[in-house]
Symmetry: C2
Subunit: 335 residues, 2 copies
């Protein structure tokens, strides 16, 4: 039921009380009734901080379900925490809302946000809601904790390390393509179930926080794959002053992506350079690979070895026949 | 000089490297080369977290100087930290940029941001830069530290407490009015210096971080005045289940505001209920008032006693002649 607005309470206060307070039950959120939140990392721990924004019409479609938009906004941040080896501790949300996002939109947005927060153990701690004449813009700053000096960086990969990725690569990039290129579904010979799989992987990232502790314990270097496997691996290698060889045949693909690539071999370019995977890529010393895989497996996150770190510069993507793949553009950027 | 874009580096990476990396020298920022930042509060301390966004055409004018926009974006967050008694520790920035904000805009924005960060001891730790088809939208999450369990809340005010505010009230609200109401400057009989003072107080908040330690040591309750003195005091009192009497004649006014109110007595409504003051309002037990004032004075921040907390509900604003002021609208809200 709509609460009546009194002279003493502002519209923003009512909006916060009605929609956001119910999902901000962490004591540090102070019921969203204060100017700031509190967060105390456990003794001997430090914080890992990340922020990502998504914009309507840029990072998602205006007609995407609001609960999926919320899950994406939080998920892209959770993915960074996972790749750094941190345990989620909470987040701040700033939401710039256009008038056309009314109560129905907001209700569904908050439902998705609350569910994602609960599922990931990353509670809403506070934030800000503002009006915008532009598209809905969701900015989240997320915080994780880990024992001091154990954050896993992009730098740190060493020649000989095995390169592993979680889950499957390319689903979201093909899922996006399905929404912008009407011929793609037919060209790729996908059935309805495969199309649904790819679409949902674009719509809602599945951050790999379950694998964070294994990454923290065993990985030399790690990052999340958000702008394309080839480009993001390139960033990790540049930070580490190292090179790599990737066996393209080992890159884990879903049934839908395999089907598409068999029907349309050029699609492999999109698979390896498209964005929005939100998987983790890590380099693990050879001697720790089995332990890493066992620990990851126990959490239910599939991990696959796809290549190894070498001396030198840049990643070589080698096909089963020994030929090296070349990419038009290694990663995605709006700039 | 513009750096040439290579296939291996994305436009966003270049933008970050060119504009933001030079102002992110804190070791926790990791040179903006990782997916996340690190922050370790000192032993026995906890974090205070706040986030606020400002939107072009909503919270500032499109033709405001970009360096002032940056100062405002950080300042509104610093103001929250000050009011909670926290020492600034760093911030994350997400910047949604329209195409029309080109290199010249960005350079000036970053210059202002870097200067404000340095001045306040609140370094840039990380963030995200995205494209938007809407207005420029700047979202900042700022972090402060304080000894565990010493954050000053909105609740906690007790009957008998003295109510103090920093600086002067109403400058920014009249400064905004000057920009939207061409008759105001004449009606208020302001000279050029006064107009400049009010305009600059609207343009760039002066967060009162210098007074944070005094607030933390002595205040029972505190918040920053961002949506109007009357409305924000009302929020503090509701959270504290208390009332208050404010002596309007004691509310600290700049020379410009005094001049305006003498020429146009109705302007006192805007002074006491308009937004963007970014001063601190705190309640201090009577026995600690002198110590609070001494400590604040040493930091160079003027503080003024304007009334006292009472039992009951709501704030009564009493004029010198004993009449009680009534407000059309106690505080500002975009919703």
């Amino acid at each position: 039921m709509a609460k009546r607005r009194t002279k003493a309470e502002s519209g923003e206060d009512l909006l916060i009380g009605r929609y956001f307070k119910p999902i901000a039950r962490h004591p540090g959120a102070l019921g969203l009734l204060d100017d700031a939140a509190r967060l105390a990392p456990p003794a001997g721990h430090e914080l890992v901080l990340t922020a990502d924004a998504i914009v309507g019409g840029v990072h998602f479609f205006h007609d995407d379900p609001p609960d999926a938009v919320a899950r994406k906004a939080l998920g892209v941040n959770l993915s960074d925490l996972a790749a750094k080896g941190a345990k989620p501790a909470g987040f701040l949300l700033t939401l710039a809302l256009p008038k056309q996002c009314g109560n129905a939109w907001l209700e569904r947005f908050v439902r998705g946000l609350g569910a994602a927060a609960k599922q990931s153990g990353c509670p809403l701690l506070g934030g800000d809601t503002v009006r915008t004449p532009g598209p809905v813009t969701i900015s989240i700053a997320a915080f994780g904790t880990l024992p001091k000096n154990t954050m896993v960086h992009r730098f740190g990969a060493r020649a000989g390390d095995r390169i592993v990725v979680t889950g499957t690569i390319g689903d979201a990039a093909l899922g996006l393509k399905l929404r912008t290129d009407r011929g793609a579904a037919k060209r790729w010979q996908l059935d309805a179930g495969m199309r649904r799989h790819l679409a949902s992987r674009y719509l809602v990232p599945q951050p790999r926080n379950a694998v964070a502790e294994a990454v923290r314990r065993y990985a030399h270097a790690s990052m999340d794959v958000s702008d394309g496997l080839a480009g993001d691996l390139g960033k990790l290698l540049r930070a580490s002053h190292a090179g790599a060889v990737i066996e393209v045949a080992k890159v884990p693909l879903s049934k839908a992506v395999r089907t598409a690539v068999i029907a349309d071999p050029r699609a492999i370019q999109t698979v390896l350079t498209g964005g929005d995977d939100f998987e983790v890529i890590a380099t693990v010393p050879a001697r720790a690979l089995a332990a890493f895989q066992t620990m990851a497996c126990r959490t239910g996150v599939p991990v696959t070895e796809i290549g190894r770190v070498t001396a030198g510069q840049g990643a070589r993507f080698v096909a089963a026949d020994g030929r090296e793949l070349r990419f038009e553009r290694a990663s995605f950027s709006h700039f």
